[in-house]
Every structure is written in structure tokens, then in C-alpha cells.
Amino acid sequence: MPKKNKLTRFLKAGCNDSSPEFIYEWSLFGNSRAVNLKNEFMRKILLAALAAVLTVSAHGQNKKITISGYIHDDATGETLIGAGVVAAESSAIGAVTNDFGFYTLTIPAGKTTLSYSYVGCRTETVSFDLTRDTTINMSLKEADILDAATVVARKDAGIRSTYMGALEIPQEMIQNTPVIFGEADIIKTLQMMPGVQPGMEGFSGIYVRGGGVDENLMMLDGSPLYNVSHMLGLFSVFTPEAVKKVTFYKGSFPAKYGGRVSSIVDVRTNDGNAKGFHGSVTAGLLCDKLHFEGPLGSEKTTFSISGRGMHTFVFDKIIRACGSPANYAFYDVNAKVAHRFSDRDRLFLSFYHGRDYFRYKESDKGTATISSGDGSSYKEYSEDDIKANLKWGNMLAVMRWNHVFSNKLFANTSVSWNKYDMNIKSDIREMVKSEKEFYDNTYKYGYNSGIMDFGGRIDFDYTPAPQHLIRFGTEFIRHAYRPSVQRVREINEDGVKKTFTDEKTNISPNVYGSELSLYMEDDMTLGDHFSFNPGARLSLFFVDGKAYFSPEPRVALKYSFGEGWALKTAYSRMSQYVHLLTSGDISLPTDLWVPITKNIRPVTSDIVSLGAYFSGLKGWEFSLEGYWKRLNNVLEYKDGKMAFTSAANWEENVEMGEGRAYGAEFYVQKTTGKTTGTASYTLAWADRRFKDGTINNGNWFPFVYDRRHNVTLSLIQKLGKRVELSAVWTYMSGSRMTIPTRKSFVITPDGDGTNDYDYIESRNNYKLPPTHRLDFNFSFHKQKKRGERIWNFGIYNAYGALNPNFIMYDGSHSKKDPTTGEEIKTPALIKETFLIFYPSFSYTFKF
């Protein structure tokens, strides 16, 4: 028997026990297979043996060798994104795993010690004496309490990243952030970040550093989602149980991202537990959730499936049976299958489908006695039926292939199909039947709009030398926009004949766009103090026979000094080829995504950032960032226009202009220990100007969410092993709205004066009162025989702050004059608050 086969048997014999998992590549021994070692004792023996073998053939210290591999969660087998590997010799020599858990690290040959770390996991330190390129896969065990991860120089996000304004949103923060109805929500967690603010109180839209709601790229497994809201924006479409990692960029952007000008939200879903079948079942105040994951046959193939639906969706039939004429529901399904062919090749299939659904049905029928003019009477039977259905949602399918060409070159290739559509169907029927009259008329109305993308991309991570991580790739997306199609059918029956009238109207014609992008960047480490990331993205968009070319330079520079101090600066240019025509605060199904046209140019942004950071205090991170942002070709509805008017000729109703935003953000995060949390303060300005003059007469005016101050304090406190308390307090300056401030008159073009009219001196001229609230959430964990039981109790807006959820102008509000007691009319704002002291609960069983 050959020597390596003996060793294989020897190693496999040690794999029967529990974690930690430790994986070595057989190429060290002249073979490319990998095996798992799960026993601590066996691992040490192997390390010793390995070290001995490698030492024999060790070369001099000048030789560089490259280590690559995957880092997994020991308990689930999930690859860990953003896990760090660092050499003990120098913290400047380090690497982090990419979006697929893969890392590459080039270090001097010979004896070395590597530390593998990840937030929430125990740091693993192993020593080697290496002589040639090799693959080392590592599994990390969960820590009892949150501990600081080993400092890694090269991170994609976080305080140690070269990028600015790049944040990793911990899963624990998402799960514990108290939100309305107790539904954990990624977007609402993002709203706690500095520079990010919600639109309307309690809703899911985000406005980042003075940008619009459509300027945020929401990516699910690397593919964009267009409508990420449920229930008019109260919830986002991301089911937390399906999510592995959320990374958020708002300042400087890796070159691989493009397509939006204000922020990127990159959501990665679970691959599935490779170690066993697990799952969770949750019943909440509003929704029920199921999540299952596990291996399919062997550890090589895993699946993850999550579903979430409102109670009203699950019990729709009962609601119908109870006679309710209307129902609203939404649901989401996430599914993913991952297969590992080898350590070099992995395949992923992911699927998402989410839908909002509203139905209304009412029927009125009866028989009446009709008197004739001659004194006789007759019976008349009549029937009026109204039926309406409204559905909207996303569907996304992605196939991804990871291939490791060599220890230095990793490739991710994916093809995706993405569809968002909205359909309205209504039937109205009027029927009258009597001895004197008969007619049966039906009016059928159908309306749909949507957008469909088909795209492919390939991304490479190339590490030619320890100081360089070069990322490059290309992407192509074919967009098909169907702004709106309307169908009407009338069926008229009068007892003699039945006539049909059909009409189909393309209110706006379909538009097709093709987007091609190329990008490259080099994440460079220059000595122990500097890291520098120059990059560029070149994008082409073809639409209406016109091609738009957008070069997007990106650069980020970081200088580290002292004990945990760093200074960073960055510049990014971004381009955007789609717009969302929306009425603003709430997410309506009629909101329309439209592409740029030959008249409407791409939106671009130039963002300059400067910041100081400190992470020298264990478990604490401090950052202070300043930014200046310029937006070009932003769209805004012309004065007096709104989305409802825009299905046809929408270009006529909007105007292109410029925007500017600047401010400073202070952020503190405590990442370790029993008490963790964040504190952030944002001081910000945001303005718009539309020189053409159709908006605010061409003058600068404050952006609707030009909120000057924004404070968020969040706390997660472990109260023993079984209880967790989380609390969030937020304070925001009021947003802006346009209201009349006095009565005046205008002159007609014929030279006459008009009646009184409400005079407005400028757009967004009124600053609403500030909003604030305190939210709580308690989690009670208990280990049961077959799993873990979790009770969640939350209170949204605990002290009942009367923050406006809807606000409108009333020019003639009635009130009593305090001196005369007479009723007088006075202008006022009507402030509706319906999110006051909202308790919620949910029950989860994890197994």
C-alpha cells in the first residue's frame, strides 16, 4: 500500500469525533484530496507530523508560499464571509475570506503561525513550517461570548477595511434589533447606522447620505432586487433566517459594485448546514416562518430553504369563509442548494420569490318590485359584483460556480434571472333581469408593469503577491422594462346578442436596455502603515439607440498608526441607469422602475470621504467620518406633479437636476462582552437644485430628508445565559415638506388677478418637528430536549412618542378662538400617528 493511502486511513480514523474541524490539503503529500480532522488530539499529532514532513523539504526564508482555502463555521459547515487569517509575524500580512468564504495568503516560507478568526468564533492559532503553496481549510468554533476577532489588515468592510463607510451588519444585531410587529428586518437595522435614515417613521425605506430611496442597490446573492418592501414598506423582503451576511457600503465602493449612486446592500444567504438537518419554526404576531437546512445525501451537497408568510396568507380560506371582502398578505421563499465538487469547484443554485397580495370581492344581489306606470308591478332581479386582485413581487434565480484556478486565482461565475412585476385585475359586473329588461354587462380591467433582467458576471480574485489583491471582472445585464400595459374588455349582453370590446393600451412602450461593465481594483498593502486601493469600473448602457459610457474611478487610502489608530480617505464615482418613479414616503405597488432614456441621462455621484478611526481599546471601535457628495442628473417630479400622473409620458413630468450632501458621522461600537451596542450621531445637510426652473424656480432647496441631526443608541445586554435585552433609542430632526405659508394672488397671462391662493415661497419650506422613540426587545432562550426555544417580546415606541406616520396640510382647520370662543379657520398640519406603543411577541423553536 502506498504511503499516502496509509496516511489517509490513519487520518480518517480520527474523524469520527466531534469538532473542531481541521482540513489539510493532500497536495502537501502529492495529492489534491482533502480530509477532515475533528479530534483535537489527532490534530496535534497531524500537525507535528506535518511539520516534520514539511521541514525536511523546507527552503530558505526568502521563498514565498501561498496558502489558500475556505474558512467554515464548525457547527454548520457554512463558509464564513469576512473571516480573517493573519500571520503572527506581522499583522500587516493577512487576508480575509471573500463572499464565498475563500481566502488567499502569501507568506514567507518556513515556520509561521497563523491566526484564524471571525466575530463570534474562537480564534484558532496554528503553526506551520511550510515550503510550498498549499490549501488549508479551517473550521472555527462558536465563542461563548462575543470576543474580538484578530485584527486583519485587508477587510472588505468594517473599521479595519481600507474602504470607508463600509459596515458589516452582524446577524446578532439584525435578530435583536427591536422592530415593529417583532419582525427582524435587515433594512431597519441598517437605519440605525450613521448616515442612514428612514423615510417615514416605522417604514423600511433608506436614504443614505442625502440620496434618494432608489439610489441604494439591494443585492441578494450578488443580484439586484428591485422592490424590497412588503406592506407599503413596513417590512423588507429579506427573511433574516435565510441570511448569512449583510455588508453595507455608503462611502467608498469596491469596483465590483455599480449601478446605484448612494449605497450598496449586499445580502448573502446561507448555503445550508453540512453537518446535519436543522431548522427553526417561528410564530409571530404578524407572520409565521419556517427555515430548514441540511445536507442532501452527503456533506458535499447542502440545502437551505426559508419561508415566511403573514397569517392572513396562511388562513386566507378561513378569512374568505368568514365573509371578509378583503384580504392582504405577503410571503417570501428563499431556497438554495450548494454542491461542493471538490475544494476547487463549488456550485450554488439560489432562488427567491416574494409576493404581496391584495384581494377585494363584494357582491350585491337582490330582487325588487318595480312599479309600472300603468299601476301594475313586476319583479326585477339585479346583481352587482366587484372583484379586484392586486399582486406584486420579485422572483430571482441565480446559478453560481466557484472555481479555484490556483492558490492565487479564484473565480466566481454566475448567471441570474430577475423579475419584478405588478398586476391588477378587476371585474365589475352589472346584471338586471326582469320581464321588461335584461342586460348583463361585465367590465374587465387588467394592468401590469414590470421589469425583467437577465445577466451574467464573472469575478476574479487574484493575489499575485502578498501586498496585492487584485479583483477584476465583467458583468452584462439585459434589462427589459415594461412600464405599463393596460387591457380592457367589455362584455355586453342584452338578451339578444352578446358583444365584446377589447382594448389593449401600452401606456408607455416597452424599453430594453443593455448594461456592460468591466472593473478592476488592487487592494494594496504598502508596508505596515499604508493600504491603498485604486480601482475603476467602466460601464456602458445602451438604450433607445443611444450608448452612455460611464467611467467610474474609485480610490481609497488608509494610514494606520499607533495603537489601533487609522486615517482614511476615499473618492468614488458611481453611475445609475434606472430610476424609481415614486410618490416618496411609502412603497406603493404602482411605483415604477424606469430606465434612463435618450433624454434622461444617468445619475452619477462623486463622493469624497475623510475619516479617523480608533480600535486600540479591546472590544471597542470608534470612527469619525466626514463626507461630501455631489449628485448629477437626479430626478424629481416637477412642481405640482406626482407619480400618479406619470404612467404615460413620465419623462414630461420629471426634471433632471443636481444634488449635494455633506456631513459628519460619529460611530462607536462595542463588539465584545456581555454588553454590546452602538452609538451614532450624524450631522448632515442635503440640497437639490434643478436649474431648468420647473422646480422651485431653479433655486437650491433642502432635500425632503434634509435632517440635520440623527442620533441612534442601541444596546444588546446578555442577562445571564438565557435572557437577552436589546434596546434602541433614536432621535431625528424633522424631515421637510412643502406647505403654503400665506395667502396671496397671482396674475393671469391675460393680466387679471386671481382669487386668493395658498402662497408657497419655495419647495420643502417647512421643517417638521423632530421624531424620537425607544424600542425594546427581550429574548428568552431555553434549551429543550430537541432544540432551543426562544420567546421574543418587543415594544415598539415604548413611551408612545407621537411621531408622524402620515402628515398632510389642511388650509382651513377649525378651532376655537381662545379670546372670543368663536370657531375660526386656521391653517394646520394634520399629523397621524398610528405606531404608538406597539407590543409584539414571537415564538421560535430551533432544532
Binding site: 426652473g693 396674475i747 408657497i760 396640510y809
Partner: protein
């Protein structure tokens, strides 16, 4: 159990109850603002502005005011007379004054009332050149679907070079009535006497002129709808013919410009009256502010101007110290003489 039920009731009540509050608005800026609105045109010598007080709750009349008009720094007229403004609410008063000016002149209008002094300063914009204007008769369906005669005016305009320009197209009909035949019994009048004259603005049908017509994909002529509002005041920019010529196609209903104004009483058996007609085509050059103001007005008074869901329009203002718009416009005119037309015997007379 009772406590549990009570707690559940309180929670349900909280969930189902929303809270409505009012934020009273007290207005911004001074309690009273002097409003001055008016059009000052180079093709007229007599001008007027409308004045009133704007307050937080209502428009109030100006009881006393003084107006001065300056052209290139020289006072050319002043007045303290306040007149009733026709077709306006009673609180609005009209002040009339005289001023002659040309393109490039600075026109300053100062109004003072109750110690408040407001002023508007504008430079009269350069006028375009109307190179030519031709007219032909075309047949087309009217609003009722009947085939009728229309007069099509082709007006060629040379843009003012080197700047963005904003224009308005207007057409007036000037008529003079002459006696061209008298019977032997007629002794009071003789041939050649001008017995009446009149002038009126013509309603322009801009449906065939894409520069004025803003409708896309619609067939109806005049009605505003959710996607369109009629450019009833025929304003346009030079964005599509900058620094060059453009021929506007303006249509006038035959009845619109054939109808006479003759109030001369005569016996058609003794006297024949001839109408001498001239259509005056005017292209008014205006500031961008005026263009936006008129555009706002048209939108505001269309069916799209429904302010229950969106904010009203912030009309532009150029009145310092107060509010309003005093627009100075320069006119280019071109006279199109129409064939003389003898009034038919059956036309209405006051004989």
C-alpha cells in the same frame, strides 16, 4: 383571568387606535407682504400692475400706494391712483402708468404703501425677428367633427442669438370699417368714411404646432387630462431652434377672425360697409421667470392642478421686499393684411 382579559383589551385598543394631532401653522416671514403683479410690454405705452397685501390668512386691499416707473434710471411716470381691478377679487387694486422702452432698457417699478417699499428691476429682453408670416385656408374637422374652414398662419421667427430665449405667441385682429357704396338717397354718409374700428385677441389653435403642443399620444384637442395640460397661452422656448429660424404653424378658426365688430348703424339698402382687416402676429420675448410663471399658471388651472395630494406651486417672484412678478416683455410684430371683405346684407346691424 380578569387581569389577562383586561391586559389583552388594552393591548388591542392600543394597536387599533391611531392618534391624530394638529400642528398649527403661524406662517413665516412678516405678517404682511406687499404683492405687485403686472405685465409691462414694449408694444404698449400704458401699463398697469395689480397690488394687494398678502397676509397669513387672507389677501387684503391696499388703501393707499404710490408707484414710480423708471426706464434706465430715469423716472418716466408715477401715480397714486388705485382703481378697481376688473375680473379680480375686490381686494386687488390696479395702478396704471405710462412708459415707453425698447429691448435692452432697464425698467424699474417701485411701489410704496404704508411705509413698505418694494421694487422690481428687469431688463427688457431682446425681441426676435418675425421674418415672414403667410396665411392659407385649410379645411379641418372642428370639435364637433364638422369640416370647417380654418386659417393657417405660418410665422417664421428668427431666434435671438447667443442666449436662451422664452417666447409667447399672440395674434390680434384689427378691423376698420369703411363705407364703400352709398345709394342715391343716402346723404349722411359718403364712400370712404371710416365708421367704426375694433380689435380683439384671436384664440390660437396650436394643435398642429409641436413646439406649442405638449400632448404626446393623445387625439383630443383641448381638454386637459392627467397626462397633459393645454398650452393655452402659447408659450415656448427656443430650445429646438436656437440661433436659427423656425416656422410656427398657428391656426385660427375662420369664424374667430371673420366676425366683425361693426357697431355702425346703417340701412344695408343704402350703405355698403367694407371691413379692412389686419392680423397682428406678436412674438413676445420674456424672461425665464415669466415663462415659468405662465407655465405654472396653466398647470395650476388645468385638471392636473389637483392639490389634494401634492403641494401647490411655488410661483416665481421678482419683487424685492414683497412678492409677485412684474414682467417686462418685448414684442416683435408682423402685420398680415387680409383681403377686404364687404359685410353681407344679412349681417346684424343696429339699424
Amino acid at each position: 383571568m380578569k387581569n389577562k382579559i383586561s391586559a389583552a383589551f388594552v393591548i388591542a385598543l392600543t394597536i387599533l387606535t391611531s392618534c391624530e394631532r394638529y400642528i398649527e401653522l403661524t406662517g413665516t416671514g412678516p405678517e404682511k407682504l406687499l404683492v405687485v403683479n403686472g405685465y409691462v410690454r414694449s408694444d404698449e405705452s400704458e401699463h398697469s400692475v395689480l397690488v394687494a397685501w398678502s397676509t397669513f390668512k387672507e389677501v387684503k386691499p391696499v388703501n393707499a400706494a404710490h408707484l414710480e416707473c423708471y426706464v434706465n434710471g430715469t423716472k418716466v411716470s408715477e401715480t397714486s391712483e388705485l382703481h378697481k381691478a376688473e375680473n379680480s377679487i375686490p381686494a386687488i387694486k390696479r395702478m396704471t402708468f405710462n412708459a415707453d422702452f425698447n429691448a435692452g432698457d432697464e425698467v424699474r417699478v417701485v411701489v410704496e404703501s404704508e411705509g413698505t417699499r418694494v421694487e422690481s428691476v428687469s431688463v427688457a429682453p431682446k425681441a426676435p425677428v418675425i421674418v415672414k408670416a403667410d396665411t392659407t385656408t385649410v379645411k379641418a374637422k372642428d370639435n364637433f367633427g364638422d369640416l370647417e374652414n380654418f386659417a393657417l398662419f405660418s410665422v417664421t421667427v428668427q431666434d435671438v442669438k447667443g442666449e436662451d430665449n422664452y417666447y409667447r405667441a399672440l395674434m390680434d385682429l384689427d378691423s376698420k370699417y369703411f363705407i364703400n357704396w352709398v345709394s342715391e338717397e343716402e346723404t349722411e354718409h359718403k364712400v370712404g368714411d371710416c365708421v367704426d374700428k375694433g380689435s380683439k385677441s384671436l384664440v390660437i389653435d396650436n394643435s398642429q404646432e409641436p413646439l406649442l403642443r405638449r400632448r404626446i399620444g393623445k387625439d383630443q384637442k383641448d381638454d386637459d387630462d392627467w397626462n397633459f395640460y393645454n398650452n393655452r397661452y402659447n408659450i415656448f422656448t427656443d430650445s429646438q431652434f436656437r440661433n436659427s429660424e423656425y416656422t410656427l404653424k398657428l391656426i385660427v378658426d375662420h369664424y374667430g377672425y371673420l366676425h366683425n365688430f361693426c357697431n355702425f348703424g346703417y340701412n344695408p339698402d343704402n350703405v355698403k360697409v367694407e371691413e379692412d382687416r389686419e392680423v397682428v402676429v406678436k412674438i413676445m420675448s420674456m424672461s425665464k421667470l415669466t415663462y415659468l410663471y405662465m407655465n405654472d399658471y396653466m398647470f395650476d388651472h388645468s385638471s392636473q392642478g389637483d392639490w389634494s395630494l401634492v403641494s401647490e406651486l411655488p410661483y416665481p417672484s421678482n419683487v424685492k421686499g414683497g412678492t409677485g412678478l412684474v414682467s417686462v416683455m418685448t414684442a416683435a410684430t408682423f402685420n398680415v393684411r387680409l383681403p377686404k371683405w364687404q359685410l353681407p346684407n344679412n349681417i346684424w346691424t343696429n339699424y
